[in-house]
Structure formats: structure tokens, C-alpha cells
């Protein structure tokens, strides 16, 4: 086991496909947390995250030979598979039971002080919860770039591989997603003010 710890993900995957269950264990322990967190941050549901994690590694057992090292890392491959499973699962969940807390999207999640930034007025736990809800309320194409680039700390290039798009698309989606998040985290009163401020700032050529 110790010797195999030094093996790369690709080598572990190859060994696993050759029937080495020890390689599967190592690869799973190395990558399961990222996949699980990605699925949890994307779906907000522990049960979905658990199912997706299991499905991802079952897929790796069945179809692991489709992985091409020239196209990206094993980690990116796993994120890509996880993304497909999460989106599929969310579509099913959406069809079966529409979200009840849709109205929560419009409520302010952050309280702002008079002079300070709104995030500073909240306790840390509240802040985290607010941000989590704001992320979950994003459309999927913006949510996935936030989860990957901001929460999973995946590079732009690798995110582009996972999503199958250009790096420029990742950048622009992330920029747009952050703007949406800020709008969601502001109180309603300040939302319009901030919007006008944005317009004003856009016209400011100082």
C-alpha cells in the first residue's frame, strides 16, 4: 500500500482496471472528498452527494478505460462525471418536487451596516450559511463555475476541461456569477441602490 501511495492517479486507475482493488481504495480515498463536496455544493443535499460519489466511482470501474490522460487529469475526469450525475439528478428532483424555498432567493441573505460591507455585520456562521444558500440559488451554469473555481480551487484551465468550454467562458461566467452572488447577498433596499451605483460607476471615467 505504501509503495502505491506514490503512484499517480492515472497509474492507480490503470491498476484498478487491471483488477487491483487496493488501487481502487487508494484512488477513492484520494479523490472521494473532492467529488463528494462538489456534489454537495452543487446540490445542497447530502443524500444526492453520497449517491453521486458512489455513482462516479462505479462509473470509473465500468468505463474507466474511456479516460484519456491526454485530455486532462483523473481529477478533472471525475469532476466531469460527477457534474453530469449531479445535473441529471437535479433535473429529476426538479421534476418530482419543485423547490419550496424559491422565494428565499429574493430575500436578503446579508445584513449590511451603515458604513461597512454587509458581510462584516454577520457572524461567521451566518455568513457561511448565507453564502451557501446564495451559491445554491445560482443557475447551474454559474453555480458550477463558482463551486469549481471558488470552493474547490480548481484552475480556470481545468474547469474549462471539466465543463467542456473555453477558458474565456469560464472567466466570464465566474464574473457574472459573482455579480449575481453580490446581488443576492445585499438587502432589497440596497439592491436597487447598488444597481444604480453600478450604472453610475460604469459611467464614471475618472
Amino acid at each position: 500500500m505504501n509503495l502505491k501511495n506514490d503512484l499517480s492517479d492515472t497509474e492507480l486507475l490503470r491498476s484498478m482496471l487491471a483488477g487491483d482493488d487496493e488501487a481502487l481504495t487508494l484512488l477513492y480515498r484520494r479523490r472521494q472528498a473532492g467529488v463528494y463536496r462538489f456534489a454537495l455544493q452543487m446540490s445542497g443535499s447530502k443524500s444526492i452527494a453520497e449517491d453521486v460519489t458512489q455513482e462516479v466511482f462505479l462509473f470509473l470501474m465500468r468505463e474507466g478505460n474511456v479516460f484519456d490522460p491526454a485530455r486532462g487529469s483523473v481529477s478533472a475526469f471525475l469532476f466531469g462525471v460527477a457534474r453530469n450525475y449531479v445535473l441529471r439528478r437535479l433535473r429529476v428532483e426538479q421534476l418530482l418536487a419543485p423547490l419550496n424555498d424559491e422565494s428565499d432567493d429574493d430575500t436578503p441573505l446579508l445584513q449590511t451596516g451603515t458604513d461597512l460591507c454587509p458581510l462584516e455585520d454577520l457572524t461567521r456562521a451566518e455568513t457561511i450559511e448565507s453564502v451557501r444558500k446564495a451559491v445554491l440559488s445560482l443557475p447551474a451554469k454559474y453555480r458550477e463555475v463558482v463551486v469549481l473555481c471558488e470552493l474547490q480551487d480548481v484552475s480556470y484551465g481545468e474547469t474549462a476541461e471539466i465543463l467542456g468550454c473555453a477558458i474565456g467562458t469560464v472567466r466570464s461566467r465566474l464574473h457574472r456569477a459573482r455579480a449575481l452572488l453580490l446581488n443576492k447577498l445585499r438587502p432589497v433596499g440596497e439592491f436597487e441602490e447598488a444597481s444604480s451605483a453600478t450604472v453610475k460607476s460604469a459611467r464614471c471615467f475618472a
Partner: protein, 253 residues
């Protein structure tokens, strides 16, 4: 730098991404000059901190341990399932190869015995035992015959530079030209049926006898005779039937 350009880099600035030092300096200088952009940067920075806090909060989360157990169980079951057909496949391949080898041996033995089998057919045996150069009585094929049209004297018969290929006999097509004999140096007329024989009788074949006749005999068959060589003899082939009757004659030069 203006606000529009600042807006394009504010996210990168707040996230602490790598950017050109000059661009970063310009952006920070703009923040000092523009209150709105300074607020915008503060918001972005707060958002970044909030996202980092969320990421840190979830850093310790992992999949439940039972998933690993489930996966290992599934993996081993899968290996066991895939291993059994592999073993079966190897046995099947072994038996297929064995049967193919046995068939090959059996076919080889059969072919060997077939080629070396004793000959049951006596005619075939005779044929096999006959030496190639043994002289035989030639059963002449159905001879070709000419019509009664007069043929020029043998002296004026044109010498064929090339022997013509003998075509199969066709009684309806009676050539009026002489054909070369199979003997390369001789030129012969077609067989002329003798007056008391019908042409149908020539198809039965028979035996050919070479004879010599006085040149005047040519006249009996309608050929012109060179009177200067009147006393000389000419060669002729007489075709006798199986009953010993002369049936046709041809003149040879």
C-alpha cells in the same frame, strides 16, 4: 484606468489572482480616486472571504465510510463475474484448438491414403501402365472430304506456307481447298468418297493405307493430268472401313 476597465479586473483583484503588476497598480490607484469602485472592491473582497469561509467550512466533509465498503464489494463482485467467463473462454479456446488439430490430422491421413490407394479400374490401370511412346494403330478420326469439284494438278497445288488448323468435321461445310496433312512435309487433298459410298459412311472412321497410283488415276477423280509427267506415280491415302471396304481416297504430294 477608468471605472469600466476597473470593473473588468475587480474580481481578479479581489480574488488575489495573478495579474500584471502595472495593471494592479493602476487598479489600486483608481480605487483611491473613485469611491464607487472602492466600494465595489470591498464587496468583491467580502464575497471572496465569504466563499473562502464556506470552502474552509466544508473542507472536512467527506463521503460516508460505507460508500468505500460498498464500492469495494461491487468491485470484487465485478472482478469475480468477469473472471469466470475469462476462464471459460480459455477452456473453450483450448478445446476448439484441439478439435481443429484432430480434424487437420484426419484430413491429412485421408488425403494421403486417397492418393496412394490401389487402382480398381483395369482400364485406368492399363492407361497408367502404358508407356507414352508406344506405337498404336491409328484409329483415324472422321476424315474430311472434298466435293467433286476439280482440283488443280498436284504440281500446281499451292504449297501452304503454314499448316491450317483442322476444324471439326462439318458435313454441311465441304471445303473446296486442300488441307495439309498432319505430316508436315505432305500436302493432301480432302478425302474423296468413292463412288459407291455415301458420305455418311465416312463418319465411321477406319484405317488409312498409303498407296501409289498411276498419275492417270487423277483423271478418274476429275483432276487434270499433266501429260508431261504421265508415267509418274502419285501417292494416295485410301480409307478402309472396318469391313475392309475402301471408302475414300485422297491424293498426297
Amino acid at each position: 484606468m477608468n471605472c469600466q476597465k476597473f470593473e473588468s479586473v475587480v474580481s481578479e483583484l479581489a480574488r488575489g489572482q495573478m495579474m500584471a503588476a502595472e495593471l494592479r497598480g493602476e487598479a489600486l490607484a483608481h480605487v483611491d480616486a473613485c469611491e464607487d469602485c472602492a466600494m465595489r472592491l470591498r464587496d468583491e473582497a467580502m464575497l471572496t472571504r465569504g466563499l473562502h469561509s464556506l470552502a474552509a467550512e466544508m473542507e472536512s466533509l467527506e463521503a460516508p465510510p460505507n460508500i468505500e465498503g460498498n464500492l469495494l464489494t461491487a468491485f470484487r463482485a465485478r472482478q469475480a463475474v468477469s473472471a469466470v467467463p475469462a476462464a471459460r473462454r480459455s477452456h473453450v479456446a483450448y478445446w476448439v484448438a484441439a478439435v481443429a488439430a484432430m480434424l487437420l490430422i484426419a484430413i491429412s491421413v485421408f488425403v494421403f491414403r486417397w492418393t496412394n490407394r490401389p487402382v480398381d479400374d483395369p482400364r485406368q490401370a492399363n492407361r497408367q501402365e502404358e508407356p507414352q511412346g508406344t506405337p498404336q494403330v491409328v484409329e483415324s478420326p472422321a476424315p474430311q472430304f472434298a466435293n467433286n469439284s476439280p482440283v488443280p494438278d498436284d504440281d500446281v497445288l499451292p504449297a501452304y506456307p503454314k499448316p491450317r488448323r483442322n476444324r471439326p468435321f462439318n458435313p454441311r461445310r465441304i471445303p473446296n481447298t486442300q488441307v495439309a496433312n498432319h505430316v508436315s512435309n505432305e500436302i493432301a487433298t480432302d478425302f474423296i468418297p468413292l463412288s459407291y459410298m455415301s458420305t455418311a459412311g465416312l463418319q465411321d472412321g477406319g484405317q488409312i493405307v498409303r498407296v501409289q497410283l498411276p498419275r492417270s488415276a487423277l483423271a478418274n477423280f476429275g483432276f487434270p493430268v499433266n501429260m508431261d509427267r504421265y508415267n509418274e506415280k502419285v501417292k494416295a491415302d485410301v480409307l478402309f472401313g472396318v469391313d475392309g471396304t475402301a471408302r475414300a481416297i485422297r491424293f498426297v504430294q
